[in-house]
């Protein structure tokens, strides 16, 4: 059942490629603007890099949150998902996983390439990609709660950013922190452990909270 939901969302994303590419290009452009604006000050760029890439990733991931449930809500598929005999949390987890595959994975793959503009050493580039690999699923998971709560509301897009961005802060701090630690020559284990812990906690709680929010939004 989970497979069907994931397959369906991926199939839809393949057929609406503009949606997927918008997120990726937004990320690429925001990250590229900073080196252009600041100029070739390598030392400043190297210090800024982790924060800029991570903030751009947060915003890019948030940009696509509105679509996680709204299309299904508008055409009535969400009613069918709610009435499915399979547990709603499981189906929601499938949708979140699909959202991560569509919006998170391209960011992870693109980040090391963009990091070169900031003159990051290769070890830091690897840490950057790894931190995004652990961090972006958390963004999809937590974002799902916001998307479900603001479903069908006017101005939901602004509201979702107010709801979700504060919850993204810990991920930002430890994600960017890992890269900073690596450039400073310190160990990154602690940062990764904390990110991993966030991932596990949100993996357990977010589908359940999202399912509950969806039921409320649909009444």
């Amino acid at each position: 059942m989970l497979i069907w939901v994931i397959r369906r969302d991926l199939l839809l994303a393949m057929r609406r490629q503009a949606d997927v590419l918008t997120t990726l290009f937004f990320f690429v452009i925001v990250v590229s603007l900073f080196p252009l604006g600041i100029g070739p000050e390598m030392n400043i760029l190297r210090i800024m890099a982790p924060g800029v890439v991570w903030v751009a990733a947060l915003l890019a991931s948030m940009l696509s949150l509105g679509r996680m449930f709204s299309n299904d809500y508008l055409d009535g598929t969400l009613e069918q998902i709610l009435l499915s005999p399979t547990s709603l949390s499981v189906l929601v987890l499938g949708k979140m996983f699909a959202h991560w595959l569509i919006t998170g994975v391209p960011l992870v793959l693109m980040a090391p390439v963009l990091g070169i503009q900031y003159d990051l050493p290769s070890s830091a580039l690897i840490v950057l990609a790894l931190s995004l690999l652990i961090g972006t699923p958390i963004l999809s998971l937590i974002g799902g709660i916001g998307a479900a709560l603001t479903l069908g509301l006017r101005g939901g897009g602004v509201l979702v950013s107010l709801l979700v961005l504060p919850l993204y802060i810990p991920v930002l701090i430890f994600g960017a922190g890992a890269v900073e630690a690596s450039t400073a020559g310190l160990g990154v284990d602690a940062h990764f452990s904390l990110l991993g812990a966030f991932l596990l906690v949100s993996l357990v709680l977010a589908p359940w909270a999202t399912a509950a929010s969806l039921r409320v939004s649909m009444e």
């Binding site: 839809l12 055409d75 009535g76 069918q80």
Partner: protein
Amino acid sequence: MLQGNNLECVRGDRVLFSGINFSIKPGELMQVRGPNGSGKTSLLRMLCGLAVPNSGKVSWNGANIRSISEEYCGVITYLGHMSGIKDELTAIENLRIASALSGVEVDEKRACEALHQMGLIERENLFTKLLSQGQKRRVSLARLLLVRTQLWILDEPLTALDVSAIELMKNILERYLAQGGMVVLTTHQEIDVSAAVTHQLYLS
């Protein structure tokens, strides 16, 4: 057996309906009638558990559907106003995914047969955005042929259908009722479905 006890629906400060009681046994049909805005869709959403009644309860074989929600979802099929059809998917993909969500996995051949039965021939692999409203409706109705549940809750299933499709739908409903299915139906069209017992529920 589906039972409604003293159901009430309030929208804002207006009471749409109250004191609705009914019970439907296998093989029985309930037609819900009433003018626009009288709460037909609200009642149907209550019956399938999407909405909570302001008072009263809906029970399935004696148990409140709120307490057995997953089990209850396995025995009902709800077709709402919105068809749940994705424009970017083909008719077959739509049907297979909708059936899978209802807990029945069907292969391509089986889905194709169901679409043929609904009169969609050589349209199986077209994107549904290229189909007419009536054809889209046929795609969503085809799910009824694949998913074997005990209760169908159909909200305006005949909208946009032509005369031959309405006749087809009548036959499908009659066959299902004869096999012991239960149907709750709203429609503005006249449809003369013969059932063991037909309840009429008027909302005003």
